[in-house]
Symmetry: C2
Subunit: 203 residues, 2 copies
């Protein structure tokens, strides 16, 4: 809300990012406040200075990471041309990247944690439902655009959006868990094949 983020806001997002990283690294159940504090070189007490409790922090961190992912994709989408190109971007964004030793861990590993927590955390559940809906709407919009341009066959864009979103989730799980038969390349191929079949187009 404030024009420039206060130090408080900066610190809060820093902690949220550290929390996401720690969950990604150690797993949801093994994440301790001390681990998060270590990650930013601060004391455990500082974490509780910015957040009311560990539970609230975990919830906010997963909501935050979710939002970051969606915002990133939305940004990329605007830079694309044809509807087909936009679908390619959506697919690419859904592929878990091989975790690199260097920077941030891939946000994908947080999804199972978010799903697991959503079952008992109404706040997180609501955020997840909202962002998933928005994600499907983005797919629908691209499809409608392609249909209007004559790029795609005239199909039900809502049904397609649910199918593609589900397909990408399911494939991404396998890739993330390093299933030997489904790597990122195979995921890309199979997702594109589905799109081409459903929309009768080339991606």
């Amino acid at each position: 809300m404030s024009p420039r983020p206060s130090l408080t806001e900066t610190r809060r997002t820093e902690i949220l990012a550290a929390t996401s990283a720690t969950i990604a690294d150690r797993g949801l159940c093994e994440t301790r406040i001390a681990d998060i504090a270590d990650h930013i070189g601060a004391s455990p007490a500082l974490i509780l200075y910015y957040f009311p409790s560990k539970a609230a922090l975990l919830t906010e961190a997963l909501v935050y990471q979710d939002q970051v992912f969606h915002d990133a994709v939305k940004g990329e989408l605007d830079r694309a041309g044809s509807a087909a190109a936009k679908l390619a971007i959506l697919i690419e964004a859904s592929c878990p990247k091989a975790s690199r030793g260097d920077g941030e861990p891939d946000g994908w590993v947080l999804w199972p944690a978010a799903w697991e927590m959503s079952r008992h955390d109404p706040t997180l559940a609501a955020a997840r439902a909202r962002l998933d809906e928005s994600w499907r709407n983005q797919i629908s919009a691209v499809v409608e655009e392609g249909i209007a341009d004559g790029e795609f066959d005239d199909i039900d864009s809502s049904d397609f959006a649910i199918q593609l979103a589900a397909l990408l989730d399911g494939l991404a799980i396998e890739v993330m868990l390093r299933d030997p038969t489904v790597d990122a390349a195979r995921m890309r191929t199979l997702a594109i094949a589905f799109v081409e079949m459903a929309l009768n187009t080339r991606v």
Copy 2:
């Protein structure tokens, strides 16, 4: 190994089932040994009498539940006629059932927990990969059968298996999390639509 299950074996599976139920009910992180013990009306010490540690118990319980699910589907498949009917069974088995107040909770809610744990538990990861492979192989086999019978178009059954398995996983996640736009009925419809489109058949 022993011809008739010893009391020990009975007790062990009873505890594994109780553990699954507790994880389903309270969530992975909130599952305590005392909760599991309560579930079967025993003391916490008994749990550790049959399992070396809580971590080992959680791993075994998730592997067990996984196995139970796959065995159940395999059993149902054998009672089906046409390849199309078998696909319908696979789809139906993948739909999370609305949790009933009465009996067992639906096993689907354990998947996110299994995925989350797999990331750090090699035993569970291996079991999961093996059973997923077997699940896809079942799909492939049905498709091959349908192709041989002329029921289905001649497509790559491995690719199809990965796609259908992923689609079902992704849809099931939404259903399980009670997403307002994807309930079990919608899931069924969309999965069947995919199958019909890909195989050029009626289910």
